[in-house]
Amino acid sequence: MRALAWHGRHDVRVDTVDDPEILNPRDCIIKVTSTAICGSDLHLYDGYIPTMKAGDILGHEFMGEVVETGPKSTLQKGQRVVVPFTIACGSCYHCGKHQYSACDNGNPADNQDIGMELYGQPMSGLFGYSHLTGGYAGGQAEYVRVPFSDVGPIVIPDGVDDDTVLFLSDILPTGWMAAENADIEPGDTVAVWGCGPVGLFAVQSAFLMGAARVIAIDHFPKRLELAKKFGAETINYEESAVYEALMTMTGGIGPDAVIDSVGLEAHGFFVDNVIDQIKKSTFLGTDRIHSIRQAIVACRKGGRVSMPAVYGGIVDKFPLGAFMEKGLTLKTGQTHVQHYMPALLNAIMEGKIDTTFLISHRMDLEDAPKGYKMFHDDQNEVTKIVLKPGFN
């Protein structure tokens, strides 16, 4: 099959590789019909994530048609499914609590050591995202082996377009969980840092959960415009001082809830540094956390902090005092995608959530290297690229 493989920093290629096979009873194989490039993929592209090997197949946002099933898969050939980016077994204690991204069994046993060392306990596996998260081949390919296909993929009814449901795989549930983690009360003012796909879905979700006002913060005019389209007020942090703007816009109170959907994207996150630091046990600051710091300081007393943004290591200059003194609550985590998929599919079908607005470019899988470069070079024009095998 053809697949987008990582070969090094700023070097991704579409290679011809072996077709995937059913290896475990609960597996299925899907033929990919649509797959997106994610902001997180750019970290791999930039070479920031360690444990990547030349030839690793990328992609964690994908959907397609079931073409093969293992004896314990509940899917049928010909069904169209969207696949969650988190690989979860559905039968461990955490899956039982719907904490799917904390699944004990989605990450192969040997791969769990590094998670254990970094975080105390290993997290679930992820598709196409380095050997740190399992080393699973991703979905920017013609075919994918999907483990635990009886609990992960969600079946899409006929007649529903790929583009309207593709983002169930990651960014829509992530934006939704971000808003849910903000414990929004009717009438609240919610501030969202970052108007990438996650932030934009958090904006929509916050309004659906009863926020009276959402204030969106970024510096890309096109992205701020999209946030405005959904009813958000905007702050361009290159033009205005964010804290001052927020305080004035909220009558000196501060937002009731703040959502950090920026993370390591903007500031450069280097897991290898983190690991080095841990090895040296110096515990010096590593992740640079400007947005979360600003969010905590701006948040009103007794307010809620939601952090969908990914951080991987140890930080310094975290405003622990402001956090404690103001009595804030912080909720975060990799998204429990499987938990949110069914309800969000319904919300899409009922027209409550708009998803296709995000897609700025559609192209053939063969053009993926061009897509990575475009996305990398221009985040103002490019909001989301969807790759389709055989599009040309």
Binding site: N24, P25, C92, D104, P147
Partner: protein, 193 residues
């Protein structure tokens, strides 16, 4: 073995003790060796099921990566063939020294073992959480040339190996399969050999 009872002022398990006094306190029948490995995992299945699967030693190679084969000789004895570096294997006969249904199995290697070892696996009913499985292994790095190779493996690896094997055991019991990120049968083959 010392005759004085071992007393610690806290509730921490022996495998976490910093002093070398753990083996004596482990309640392992015939203590063999002086390097100790202790690992615990919680498996979301009833204790009866978990114990029964483990007690049938022919099941163990399924999730114990380094174990090539186990032949059950009789109720108490079994013959183990285990991978060593450089394509070698090491072998021993193991004898169950004590056991209690759904609670624990303790064993020791018979004289003549390539690597003398003993240990116990405890099973504890954890109610809604399933079963807590704790493996404690003592082994004696052998001398000689083979010993050197084996020691290299055993000195560095057993803690990691035991942890990974327990994770695979958990995966098998909870999900019915062992997770792999391979995507072709050939890759899987390469990974497991």
């Amino acid at each position: 073995m010392s005759d004085d009872p071992i007393v610690h002022g806290d509730d921490a398990p022996p495998s976490s003790w910093k002093k070398g006094d753990a083996p004596d306190a482990m309640g392992i029948g015939d203590t063999k060796g002086d390097s100790i490995v202790g690992r615990t995992v919680t498996i979301n299945r009833p204790v009866g099921e978990v114990f029964a699967y483990f007690r049938d030693f022919t099941n163990l190679p399924t999730f114990m990566e380094n174990v090539v084969s186990i032949e059950v000789l009789d109720e108490a004895r079994s013959h183990w063939v285990v991978k060593a570096p450089a394509g070698r294997t090491v072998e021993w006969d193991a004898r169950i020294t004590d056991e209690a249904q759904d609670r624990f199995i303790a064993w020791t290697s018979e004289p003549g073992a390539d690597v003398a070892n003993s240990g116990r696996v405890d099973f504890q009913d954890a109610g809604a959480r399933g079963t807590v499985v704790t493996a404690t292994i003592l082994y004696d790095p052998p001398g000689g040339i083979v010993g050197k190779i084996v020691a290299k493996m055993f000195q560095r690896e057993p803690a990691i190996q035991a942890r990974r094997d327990l994770r695979r055991f958990k995966q098998l019991m909870e999900t019915g399969e062992i997770a792999t990120s391979a995507y072709t049968a050939r890759q899987l083959e390469e990974e497991t050999n």
